[in-house]
């Protein structure tokens, strides 16, 4: 434990020495993040805490700080993406510390303050950051109890905690803050502190409302888009008309005379405009688009040839799960089946286009960013500008929902590239709708061939999967070539796609109990830019896998629930399916009703949350409509039931939209899905009734849940449509069948 009176000086001098800007940090420190938006006077205002750098993950202070009298500040390297992580992590901290939830505050990813927790991705935040915070909070409480026992010279078991107050014999009591007396919790996380028994939980497991929603309903500044700094300039970028286009000519003089224009930046084929007002930047961008001349090369292959190109380009597939016997065991089985499935390129389609603010001062860079990872951003910007990463501060701020690797990192890099031309001035860059639709990295198109053998009792004996897919992750993790605009500079950074990640075969290996399995992957270099979209390959893989399961069930003349359960050994999976069966009253549904239903199941990544869903269709004129979706999710210990339901409902609707409506369109010249008319997604009139049921297992560890619904919903819709039409559907989207 160190004394703040001696250390504050050092900390202040650190801040000075680091030359970093304080502006923007704790943007709204005096706002009350009280859970009830109307009841904001019961607590005094949270004063915020002084900035302190993160030192190492192994000390309590890296996660839990009691600097502000009467308040707890939680630190996490993870970002709020609309998934409610701020609330869930504060619940975990409040529970272990035994303090009221309302006094907790949280600081998300900031390279000057929080731990490096990589990307907020893969449904890992509660499992990862949550367990670190839980342990740190337990250690903090344990340490404080020991300190109190020492102070009162009593035994530790004579001391207990209630609402942030420590109680001892003879009515002795002292608050956490009084006991600490300005010192920091700089003790090591030893792993010795006892963790609360889940049966005693009073905050974890409760549907505590999200405090950020109380700000958003009032239109208060919340998003990176709302950040306004003194003297801030507005920028726009003009991306090339297609991926490989090169700038041939641009009469800059025509642009620099336009009202409000501060700077036009042309570096190779990277073109940006900076103006005093946002609208002036937009007008200047329009003019640039009108007069710039580009040399373009055609996009190949043509859309219609995409899936044949995948097969033509493939050589020898990688054996992800090898089986020398697979072809033979399939051949020898009583029943055999083989099908091929296809999904198109799909978009993240964030509602608000990417936005970031950057400022350079004395060779030091600060970027306010909606990125999923402030540290990877810092690393990659260091590569881009050839400077030490210590000279860069990245501050994470809420963006529009990203659902994976969207424009957030690109726009952050571009803002920094632009601001470099205008030192000492903050520059805000926002993408326009067409920037976002045309330049975000899409979820890859995929082709999947599944083959299986089955015995006479409907038991699957062998299963072979072959995948053709482009990469599902091109996140910039230290290599500036991953920023599209860095590839367009006069001295371009090379984009090295580098090791196709495991994303392509995520969830491709069946969870079902099958004696002989093989999994083959063909990495495909496709025509469009791709990266991580919610669920990665799991969406396409589960669409195929769970469609194929229905085909097998039908070929075995078995009920789809019964068939799945017969082939599963995993008890938690079986319970999810049985719960869905009872929630949908499956056994009492008429055959006619069942002919409009489809079910599907998956455990996300075969290691995270379990999810099963039933989709019911209805007729609308000659077309179909989704009438209802009922989902059951099991994510181990549930931190915030309403938060889990909210995110699952959202995943179900997003997946239904992908499955029924969505496919990125392009011609030989350019991407032609440029806005919401050319790339329609679900709107209010498409929304079915929706029900989500939770199986809570407080005794189990929490499992990542944010992506669990994506794959199963696709398969359930396909199964329902196939049942209804009496013919199997193999290719997404399903637009032609729906109203």
């Amino acid at each position: 434990m160190k004394d703040t009176t001696t250390n504050n000086q050092n900390r202040r001098s650190f801040l000075k020495a680091s030359g970093q800007l304080i502006i923007g940090f704790n943007l709204f420190p005096f706002l009350q993040f009280c859970a009830n938006p109307e009841n904001q006077t019961t607590l005094s205002a949270y004063p915020g805490i002084e900035e302190r750098p993160h030192t190492e993950k192994a000390i309590i202070d890296s996660w839990i700080r009691l600097d502000a009298e009467g308040f707890v500040t939680v630190l996490t390297g993870k970002q709020e993406l609309g998934q409610g992580i701020r609330t869930a992590l504060m619940q975990i901290a409040a529970e272990e510390l035994e303090v009221p939830f309302d006094i907790c505050h949280i600081i998300n990813g900031d390279t000057a303050q929080t731990a490096n927790e990589g990307y907020t991705a893969g449904s890992n935040s509660v499992e990862g950051s949550g367990s670190a915070i839980r342990q740190a909070a337990a250690e903090a409480k344990y340490f404080l109890i020991q300190e109190a026992a020492k102070l009162w010279q009593v035994n530790i078991d004579q001391v207990e905690v209630n609402n942030g107050e420590i109680h001892g014999p003879e009515n002795k009591k002292i608050s956490y803050w009084k006991l600490l007396d300005g010192k920091f919790l700089e003790g090591k996380i030893t792993g010795e502190a006892p963790i609360k028994n889940p049966s005693n939980h009073v905050i974890v497991g409760k549907s505590i409302p999200r405090a950020d929603i109380s700000k958003m309903i009032k239109g208060e500044p919340h998003f990176i888009h709302d950040l306004r700094l003194e003297g801030m300039l507005h920028a726009r970028v003009v991306h090339p008309p297609s991926y490989n286009a090169k700038l041939e000519a641009l009469d800059e003089s025509e642009i620099s005379q336009l009202p409000g224009v501060v700077r036009i930046i042309v570096d190779g084929s990277f073109v940006a405009i900076v103006a005093k007002r946002e609208y002036q930047a937009i007008k200047a961008r329009e003019k640039i688009i009108e007069i710039a001349k580009w040399e373009s090369t055609n996009i190949k292959p043509a859309m219609g040839d995409l899936f044949s190109d995948m097969k033509n380009k493939a050589s020898k597939p990688k054996e992800i799960e090898a089986s020398p016997t697979i072809n033979q065991t399939i051949k020898q089985a009583k029943n055999q089946l083989k099908s091929t499935y296809r999904k198109p390129y799909t978009m993240h389609g964030s509602t608000g286009p990417g936005c970031a603010v950057a400022q350079w001062d004395n060779q030091k860079l600060t970027v306010w960013s909606p990125t999923q990872g402030v540290y990877p951003l810092q690393n990659t910007l260091a590569d881009l500008f050839s400077i030490e990463k210590e000279s860069i501060r990245c501050i994470g701020m809420p963006g529009s929902g990203c659902y994976g690797h969207n424009s957030a990192d690109d726009v952050s890099a571009e803002a920094a590239m632009i601001a470099k031309h205008l030192p000492n001035q903050p520059v805000r860059l926002q993408w326009m709708r067409d920037n976002e639709h045309r330049w975000e990295p899409y979820g890859s198109a995929m082709q999947l061939t599944l083959e299986a053998g089955m015995d006479q009792n409907g038991k699957i004996t062998s299963w072979k999967t072959e995948i053709w897919s482009d990469t599902h992750s091109t996140r910039p993790n230290g290599n500036a070539g991953h920023y599209v605009s860095a590839r367009h500079l006069a001295e371009p950074f090379e984009f090295k796609k580098g090791g196709f990640s495991g994303g392509s075969y995520r969830n491709a290996s069946p969870l079902y109990d099958i004696a002989d399995k093989a999994l083959l992957l063909n990495d495909y270099e496709g025509p469009l830019r791709t990266s991580a979209l919610r669920g990665l390959g799991a969406y396409g893989n589960i669409f195929a896998l769970e469609s194929f399961i229905d085909e097998l069930a039908s070929s075995a003349s078995m009920d789809p629930f019964e068939f799945r359960i017969r082939n599963l050994k995993n008890n938690r999976a079986v319970e999810v399916l049985n719960t869905l069966k009872s929630k949908t009253d499956w056994d009492n549904l008429s055959d006619e009703t069942k002919s409009k239903c489809g079910i599907a199941f998956a455990q996300y990544k075969n290691s995270a949350a379990y999810f099963a869903v039933m989709v019911t269709l209805e007729n609308e004129g000659e077309k179909l409509k989704i009438k209802k979706m009922i989902g059951v999710i099991e994510a181990g210990q549930c931190i915030n039931p309403d938060g889990l339901i909210n995110q699952t409902e959202g995943g179900m609707i997003q997946s239904a939209s992908w499955t029924i409506l969505e496919s990125v369109q392009y011609n030989e010249k350019e991407i032609i899905s440029t806005d919401w008319n050319s790339y329609p997604i679900f709107r209010a009139n498409d929304i079915p009734e929706i029900e989500v049921h939770i199986i809570n297992r407080p005794e189990e560890k929490p499992l990542g849940a944010g992506e669990a619904a994506q794959g199963p919903v696709a398969a359930a819709i396909v199964n329902a449509v196939s049942n209804h039409l009496g013919k199997r559907i193999y290719e997404l989207p399903l637009r032609e069948y729906f109203s």
Binding site: I213, I217, Y279, D675, A684
Partner: protein, 153 residues
Amino acid sequence: MKTVTLTVNGKKTKHELDPKEPLLYVLREEFKLSGAKYGCGLHQCGACVVLVDNQAEPTCMNACESFEGKNIETIEHLSQNNKLHAVQKAFFEAQAAQCGYCLNGMLISAVALLRNNPQPNKSQIKDALQQVICRCGTHPRFIKAVENAISQK
């Protein structure tokens, strides 16, 4: 440049600016209001809607001068004396948000609906929210929240 007179949240003010500048940017830069958001600039997504004479109207394309003489209300003006509007309250109670970027559009569209039709049915609620893009899939909660707002009135 021209003097444009706008009535925003009950106050009439004069501004020297390009009269063709869409209202959205004027609200965000001149008035420092950040509730209305840029989403598409094409009147396709509803992120930028405000109440214009009690109708939910997009602001990202139409020139600010075309709003002269009209009564403009933004999301920031809905709660009065720290008391939430019934629709805001219902949205909070239903926890009707994920990322929240579309909330302005959803809330303003709901308020406009209820001002013009105090007892809408579900299909009218959906129609009113149809113009607003929500990528998180929070629609069931928006619809539920509007239904709750009606019953609480």
